[in-house]
């Protein structure tokens, strides 16, 4: 079980203090799948980074199985079973796919091939590929997920796993995430995709750094859709031109 208690996060942006997260109270229970959704820039990834220890909260606490881990480093949290797939995976000159899978699994994993196969990448073709600019964004995302599966953490945070992935792979990806989830794991997916939101147990809507709505999928999904009504004005302020549809 993972709990964030009254978490606030301020970051300095261009020498200005900016409030990123405000009074986040949320508990993620073992065996459940969660989705964090909301507009771009609302604080979803920042929340995930607070859990992973990349950002430390300005106020508030983070608990893992009742232990206060607020001040623990990224490494210590990873060793306690928290894993995170990045929205934009890091690229490495010289390091190969198998190197990161070995580091993640903590050994010379014999599962390298099956993990890659699992996420739809041909092992022969990919295990010795270098994690550099020769790989597309979609390939990097899938490899990032294979690395997390090799790490096999109890708390699994996927940051927009669907971004940059083609439709066929997306279907496969959903299955991989669903099938690798078990009663001991907590799965948190940051996503805007309806198919992902449909498969989770609970959804939290984050807006302007706050959890504005949360609850079971069936209860909350209609409310989220309603709240997502386009707020964009339908008249161009410069040309007095009207638009019939929301541009988003």
């Amino acid at each position: 079980m993972l709990t964030l208690e009254k978490v606030n996060l301020d970051l300095e942006v261009e020498e200005q203090k900016v409030s990123i997260l405000q009074d986040i109270d949320i508990t993620f229970e073992a065996g459940k799948m969660y989705a964090l959704t909301g507009p771009n820039g609302s604080g979803k990834s920042s929340l995930a980074r607070v859990v992973m220890g990349i950002y430390h909260p300005t106020k508030g606490k983070v608990y893992l199985e009742g232990e206060d881990i607020t001040d623990l480093s990224i490494t210590e949290r990873a060793r306690r079973g928290i894993g995170y797939t990045f929205q934009q995976p890091a690229r490495f000159k010289g390091m190969q796919v198998k190197d990161l899978i070995n580091i993640a699994s903590g050994d010379n994993s014999s599962r390298k091939c099956s993990l890659l196969h699992h996420i739809g990448l041909c092992p022969d073709e990919y295990k010795e590929r270098t994690l550099d600019d020769s790989l597309s964004g979609g390939e990097m995302k899938r490899i990032e997920i294979a690395i997390l599966l090799a790490q096999n953490p109890r708390i699994r945070i996927f940051d927009e796993p669907e971004a940059g992935i083609d439709l066929w792979s997306f279907e496969q990806l959903i299955e991989v995430i669903k099938n690798s989830h078990n009663e001991k794991s907590v799965t948190v997916i940051i996503s805007h995709q309806e198919k992902i939101l449909n498969m989770v147990d609970e959804i939290a809507l984050i807006e302007e750094g706050r959890i504005s709505m949360r609850g079971g999928h069936d209860d909350i999904w209609p409310l989220i859709k309603e709240s997502a009504e386009c707020a964009c004005r339908k008249t161009c302020p410069w040309e007095e031109e009207s638009y019939a549809d929301c541009p988003r």
Partner: protein, 305 residues
């Protein structure tokens, strides 16, 4: 008879465990101490100067090890090797030099290799340099490689300097004839007060000649590195130079790639970059459970692989 120290150095630079397979020549402290020629691969000591001639017959396939080790202080070892790879041959050669300097004097190895890779031959060459010592005596390595690649031949050079070399001046010259191909990887790590200079000059002489030069380095401590890779085309060749350095601590890196052509069908590209280890790479490896130091080591080792 090899001592335990000799074996350790040979393992470090040439991955040798016991006697090498294939033909070999082991040079220690200025003298050839073990040698084996094979049919089609002759290793002959030079008569007029220190060094060997390695003569590979046409079409011959095989491995050759020619490592050098230095285990004394106050020693300068200069060696001139000539390597002739016959037409159509396919040879893997492991060279390199390991220095264990036991004293406070200087231990220095200057190795000059003249290599000709004849028509249609394939030549893979690895040269690894390593130094160590307890009393602070300098370990100096100055390799010079002059390479000629004939029509349709292929040469791949892997030039590696791992830890412990205080000062190095590396010179590599290559001429690539029509249809010849050269691939060169240079990997270099310096630390403390060490200095490294690398001059590379590759000339693409004929049609369809190609060269790819990849230089990767890591400069730590207060070390200094300078790179001068020059790629020239006198004919319609294609070439690419990539110089990439990770700079850390108070180190200084200077990279001056140059491309030069006098043929309108030549295509030459260079890229050069110097930068620190990216924060996102460190964070990614830490999310996999590595400490900051372990993450840094993994990134450096991958970068220099």
């Amino acid at each position: 008879m090899l001592t335990a120290l000799d074996k350790k150095l040979l393992e470090e630079i040439a991955d040798l465990h016991g006697e090498p397979q294939g033909a070999f020549n082991i040079r220690k402290d200025g003298e050839g101490i073990q040698r084996r020629s094979l049919e089609g691969i002759e290793i002959i000591p030079k008569k007029d100067q220190p060094g060997i001639d390695v003569i590979v017959a046409e079409g011959k396939k095989g491995q050759v090890h020619i490592p050098v080790i230095l285990t004394l202080t106050d020693l300068t070892d200069v060696v001139y090797n000539t390597i002739d790879i016959g037409a159509g041959a396919d040879i893997t050669m492991v060279a390199g030099c390991g220095i264990h300097n036991p004293g406070s004097g200087q231990a220095r190895h200057d190795g000059v290799h003249e290599i000709i890779v004849r028509k249609g031959a394939r030549f893979l060459y690895t040269e690894k340099h390593f130094g160590e010592g307890e009393e602070g005596g300098k370990r100096i390595l100055n390799p010079k490689t002059v390479l000629k690649i004939e029509e349709g031949a292929y040469a791949e050079l892997e030039l590696i300097q791992i830890r412990g070399v205080d000062d190095t001046h590396r010179e590599t010259e290559a001429e690539v004839a029509a249809g010849g191909r050269l691939v060169m990887f240079e990997r270099l790590l310096t630390d403390g007060e060490q200095t490294a200079n690398s001059d590379i000059q590759v000339t693409l002489m004929g049609a369809e000649s190609t060269a790819r030069i990849v230089s990767r380095s890591v400069a730590q401590g207060s070390s200094k590195q300078t790179f001068y890779p020059r790629l020239m085309a006198t004919g319609p060749g294609r070439g690419h130079v990539e110089c990439d350095s990770i700079i850390m601590d108070q180190a200084v890196v200077r990279s001056v790639p140059e491309i030069w052509a006098k043929n309108s069908d030549a295509e030459l590209v260079h890229e050069a970059a110097i930068g620190k280890i990216a924060g996102e790479q460190m964070i990614k490896l830490m999310t996999l459970g590595l400490t900051e130091k372990e993450a840094e080591e993994a990134i450096i080792s991958g970068f220099l692989k």
